[in-house]
Symmetry: C2
Subunit: 197 residues, 2 copies
DNA sequence: GTCTATATATTGATAGAC
DNA sequence: GTCTATCAATATATAGAC
């Protein structure tokens, strides 16, 4: 996947522009309606790209799904780069939970963008299944590193608890159509983090 | 929806038999492949019922989804009737977490049957969305009652924490394809329950 | 690189004989 | 109540002119 900074001629720039628009539209539609219910025609329409032209950028629908997963991964890594600026691991974890809490309203409406993707793709047992799981791993590994820096031997277990609590709260917040379910659980998590030795 | 005990003539018995088979097959396929990826032909084949005959029992595919949700609800209520035999609320909650842990392997393979259903239907915003949410509510309300019996004023919040922790662990167990993620979190939950005043 | 037209397959759903 | 045949709509994907 070429990066914008590597683009030179106008053709390649146009390519990146349309490709990015397609991925962005697909990401949004996958989140709102799910992968299975989103058609290529939906993505093409939302991107303002003719349907036939989509296949110049992506050979199959699964290729688009993969690109969306990559886009999510990039965003996750970018968030963690920002959070890593905090002075200590505990402050970073707390900041992470606040970031999650900020997503309450959209999660209540359409679920967690990562969680719903993993839930939908997790059963397939193909390469997309594993690619989606990577999104969860990114969070778990980052959190695990923070707990490790706090001197915890059970860092991985704590990280799994943190990430899964967020995912469960997101599912319930969506079911109840109530952002408070998610924000309430993040508040609980902050207390939990602060109480750790 | 007629009950088996009300059946008399052979026609009605056959009706219930086929209907039950269709619902059971649909429930299994929805769990393994998701609602959207499951076709009526799949359900018909698995039930050994001709495709055209499915429409005698269900007007639309959504009607089958609704019937599956009802079947889940019945099973949930039945489990709670069993758990209610335990002497106290704390023992009932502990038993519940053990029941969840027992589902580790199947959850690692295909996700939580209830969670994936709520995740898939939750975004639709229609009546099926609300029907699926009822499955989560059943668990939350039962758990809430137990915490209330334990004298907790924040019973509902505790119940939400319990149920969402299970759902999050189920999602991660499926992503990691590792039952231990779910069983580990239920162990954590049992300690949490026992530590409550 | 772009876009219209269309092939091909699959789906939910119906018709109508039995 | 049952089941075969099939419709109509929709989906992914391709062909080929520009």
């Amino acid at each position: 996947m070429p990066r914008l900074s590597q683009m030179t001629d106008s053709a390649t720039v146009a390519r990146a522009g349309k490709r990015d628009r397609l991925v962005e539209a697909a990401r949004d539609l996958f989140h709102r309606n799910g992968v299975e219910r989103t058609t290529l025609a939906d993505i093409a329409k939302e991107s303002d790209v003719p349907l036939g032209n989509v296949y110049y950028y992506f050979k199959t629908k699964d290729d688009i799904v993969h690109a969306v997963i990559d886009a999510h991964a990039d965003q996750i890594r970018e968030l963690f780069r920002t959070l890593d600026r905090h002075r200590g691991p505990r402050a970073r974890l707390i900041a992470f939970t606040r970031e999650i809490a900020r997503s309450g309203p959209v999660v209540a409406d359409h679920g967690c963008p990562l969680g719903t993707l993993c839930s939908e793709l997790g059963r397939r047992g193909d390469d997309l299944s594993e690619a989606a799981a990577t999104l969860m791993r990114l969070r778990v590994e980052w959190a695990s590193e923070q707990f490790r820096l706090m001197g915890r031997k059970d860092a991985t277990n704590l990280a799994v608890t943190l990430v899964s609590t967020i995912q469960g709260a997101a599912l319930l917040a969506n079911s109840y159509r109530d952002p408070a379910v998610l924000t309430g659980q993040t508040r609980y998590l902050r207390r939990w983090i602060n109480d750790l030795a």
